[in-house]
Assembly symmetry: C2
Homo-oligomer: 125 residues x 2
């Protein structure tokens, strides 16, 4: 860890990285790849509703950041597989924790939103 | 945890919640509030570069989701403080893990991006 990276500084690239890894599609795609290598079409099926364009962008960003590899097998038609790199594997745990938090707290969040909207956002104490 | 929430389903609200909590501003604001209650202006100073509008939106979303409270003290001028709720405190750990991951892996990510861009994104194996 470099002391130089600090996402609280406005100009630090780690802030953009933080954004990237917290992105819903990154969380879900890395989650699927945690099970092992997958092809593009399989990923698209598992992450319901992701567009082809968004899946392509997400995979390209992950590859550029060194978190997944893209392997092309010389078959007819060519088979392309995506898999987590060693660095990508280290991302699994924080992202899984985030996803678990979201599903575990969704009920409470829904209740809170209802209460907030009922009083028009005036929850001042 | 409700089995009904599944962010892999396109229509599940937990996907939006996942987006929200992974947002860079949420990560950074919750990080500051982990130290204790803060006023709006203090938050703006700590999270360098966040606009007033974005800070207002982030705080409002966090309040609506039940993760922070907004307390108005009857002083002149009125003092307004934001603090994490019990649910908000449970979010600290996953978000801190995400932030730690980003700063720890930033060097490797920068190297990977350089390599990727050098070959014009063709890292096929």
């Amino acid at each position: 860890m470099s002391a130089e990276w600090d996402p609280y500084r406005g100009d630090c690239p780690s802030r953009m990285l933080l954004d990237r890894i917290g992105d819903r599609w990154t969380v879900l795609v890395v989650g699927v790849l945690s099970d092992g290598p997958h092809r593009f079409s399989e990923l698209g099926r598992r992450v319901v509703g992701i567009s082809q364009k968004m899946l392509t962008q997400t995979l390209r960003s992950l590859e550029r950041d060194g978190l997944i590899t893209r392997t092309v097998y010389a078959e007819v038609p060519p088979r392309v597989e995506y898999r987590l790199t060693e660095a990508g594997h280290t991302l699994q745990e924080p992202l899984r924790a985030l996803q678990t938090w979201a599903t575990e707290h969704m009920d409470a969040v829904v209740d809170s939103r209802r209460a907030y909207d009922r009083v028009g956002g005036r929850l001042d104490r």
